[in-house]
Symmetry: C2
Subunit: 230 residues, 2 copies
DNA sequence: ACTGAGTTCGAACGAACGTTCGAATTAACT
DNA sequence: AGTTAATTCGAACGTTCGTTCGAACTCAGT
């Protein structure tokens, strides 16, 4: 008899370095993950029952447990895969681009493109952060921290190159807020596509941080804002 | 015998126009709401059980139902009170201020001050939007829409006065994103207070929308960004 | 046709869920 | 002190929860 954990471990062990074969097991698992993502998106992690997931994926309740050992691990697999993919794509896109402003724009575009192409996954990632406990939560948090650090790096480059002065932490978290909040309002039938959205949000954010106080003196209260661009 | 719904209705009927007396009932109810807010904040609406709420508020499970008729109505009361208060304070603060930029800054400050003074309430409002069904959800959504429209109005004033050109919708929703995302990261032991945060976020946002393209010609792609402030 | 591993399922488990009810207790007023 | 209304609670309701188990099915290799 094959226990679920055995089967899962075998499928992980099976693929040789960097060349994972798409086994029947892996394929069916990712189908289930996809359906589960939709259900979690619609009803929330706590609000979705295993019976909901069973119905959505067309598999019996007990059958699901052949593919993962708990509901929590299922959410973990979804979040980890989503976050890893986004980070990996970002790294690939940043390669070879040197201009700091362009690199920030790539960051925004990469995030928004993935967001709008996989809205359910990204809502589950954004909205269910904190739903995972202990080990599972820590592993996703580690990826999040890496992603955060990359963005901090990009903004620090920009600051250095242009001699700007602003709180990187606040800027990064404001940018994340602008982007991640999208899942609460974006309507593909009304709102623009990722490219235009990335341009508009990138404009607001970059003009915001770039037209600020230059380094050199301590900034007390902000100086009166004058309209630039002339 | 007094059924909960009767008691609740009486307490609503009791207060004369504009002068609600703080009855024992109302006082105990708001204590329960306060404790429930903390629990919803920590475990989420679906994740929190009535028994959790019972434990937190020091009242028996059955006793809670004397004050509200369902868990869903409890969340509704929390969200409605929080949102109404924020809108009401905003209106009072906007009164008598004419300068469009100042009015936007007041909007940001009002939001962030309330956010940091009532983090649990605001997390429940932000994170559990969409948890309410049908009638309850619609009533909170109506307040949200009013709040949204106010912000749209403020930005349209600003656009008109300065002859700016940007998508009000994207700007408003980006601003909401920046502000509401705070509940995911703000740490009172590390991060600045509301006033400074409002200045920093206000700077990023206002410089972002104000140093953009001036009205008069159609904007195609964004022009190259140059650093202002010299 | 037989084998054995891989895959699926019906049925059930105990626990926890939101809610109800009638009795008991407390507070307010005569 | 006695009466009434407001408040609280223990105990239970029926339902749904996440998870388990052993039997059954599928399918490739012989």
């Amino acid at each position: 008899m094959a226990s679920p954990s055995t089967a899962a471990r075998v499928s992980v062990r099976r693929h040789r370095a960097g060349r994972p074969p798409v086994t029947r097991f892996d394929q069916r698992l990712s189908e289930i993950l996809s359906h589960a993502t939709d259900v979690f998106c619609k009803k929330g992690y706590e609000g979705a029952s295993m019976r909901d997931l069973s119905r959505a994926s067309g598999m019996s309740l007990a059958g699901l447990y052949y593919y993962f050992e708990s509901k929590e691990r299922l959410l973990f697999l979804i979040q980890k895969h989503t976050f890893s993919t986004i980070v990996q794509r970002l790294k690939a896109r940043l390669e070879g681009v040197d201009d700091p402003e362009q690199r920030v724009r790539i960051f925004v575009l990469n995030h928004l493109e993935y967001f709008l192409a996989n809205p359910a996954s990204m809502k589950v990632l954004s909205h269910e952060a904190g739903a995972l406990k202990n080990g599972f939560g820590a592993e996703v948090a580690a990826i999040k921290r890496e992603y955060y650090r990359i963005c901090v790096g990009l903004l620090d480059e920009l600051k250095r190159e242009r001699g700007l002065q602003f709180s990187t932490r606040i800027a990064v978290l404001s940018l994340f807020g602008m982007m991640n909040w999208i899942y609460t309002w974006h309507n593909p039938r009304v709102d623009a596509d990722a490219e235009q959205l990335a341009r508009e949000m990138g404009d607001i954010f970059l003009r915001g941080v770039m037209s600020g106080v230059r380094a050199g003196r301590k900034a007390g209260s902000s100086p009166p804002l004058r309209t630039g661009s002339e």
